[in-house]
């Protein structure tokens, strides 16, 4: 369970988004979103190249999304 300060931060940020033009909050949020995707892709690309990496990626995705991921096949 996250503590009260975490909830306060969620609410503070939501008010900031509500009270400021899109270009202001997007300028702060956008780089965070983009870097998360970029870092994850770099990680998956590295993992893909190691022995058993492709299977690990499949397992990681299965853990995240359960039955949505197809059975492992080569």
């Amino acid at each position: 369970m996250r503590d009260k300060t975490h909830t306060q931060q969620i609410e503070r940020w939501a008010r900031f988004v509500r009270d400021n033009p899109r270009k202001v909050w997007k300028g702060e949020q956008g780089p965070l979103i983009d870097s998360q995707i970029s870092m994850a892709n770099r990680f998956y690309s590295r993992l893909e190249k190691v022995l058993g990496g492709k299977e690990k990626i499949r397992r990681l995705r299965r853990l995240g999304k359960g039955p949505h991921v197809p059975p492992a096949s080569t």
Partner: protein, 183 residues
């Protein structure tokens, strides 16, 4: 400053193809993120109307032609029979990429039909996409999904749309969720 994130562009490029073939609504986490919620995600969720196998095959071929690969299979008949017709989502990525993914599923009940019927373009997002309504997203997150992340998404949307939310509509949708998804 970039006006669109990688997720925004991915969703817009995907929808540009998909909307030629079926009515759609973007649902779940990306709705909150498109409203400024500051958190990561690896996928965008989209519901489309129930289309036939042959209609889906055309959509799938169009998506492949435009650089989207389906993770589960490249065979549309298999995707339709083994996944979509059983209510399971399928996942598309840009060719050669791992994420983001677009999780696509067919409308499976009257609640999904209602999501499509009440879909909206939400000017706050600056994206020209159809989303399920704010009330729908809050109801799903508070009544069905209920993880910490989902409750925070709902809280974020409630603050961003403070004073503009139809609470009666949220209650109506929550009743539908209890009747159709929580029995």
């Amino acid at each position: 400053m970039k006006d669109k994130t990688v997720l925004d562009t991915f969703a817009m490029d995907f929808v540009r193809i998909a909307e030629k073939h079926a009515k759609y609504a973007i649902v779940s986490g990306f709705v909150a993120i498109a409203h400024g919620r500051s958190r990561g995600t690896e996928d965008v969720d989209i519901i489309i109307e129930r289309i036939s196998r042959s209609e889906f095959a055309k959509m799938h071929e169009d998506l492949e032609k435009n650089g989207f690969d389906c993770i589960q299979s490249s065979y549309p008949n298999e995707l339709y029979e083994e996944y979509l017709s059983k209510g399971t989502g399928i996942r598309y990525v840009r060719e050669g990429m791992h994420i983001p993914e677009m999780e696509l599923r067919l409308s499976k009940d009257s609640l999904d039909d209602y999501q499509l019927e009440t879909r909206k373009k939400l000017p706050f997002t600056g994206l020209g996409l159809y989303f399920s309504s704010i009330e729908m997203n809050i109801a799903f997150k508070e009544e069905l999904l209920r993880s910490e992340k989902d409750m925070e998404d709902a809280r974020h949307l409630r603050i961003v749309y403070e004073g503009k939310i139809n609470e009666a509509e949220i209650e109506k949708i929550k009743r539908m969720i209890r009747r159709l998804r929580l029995r």
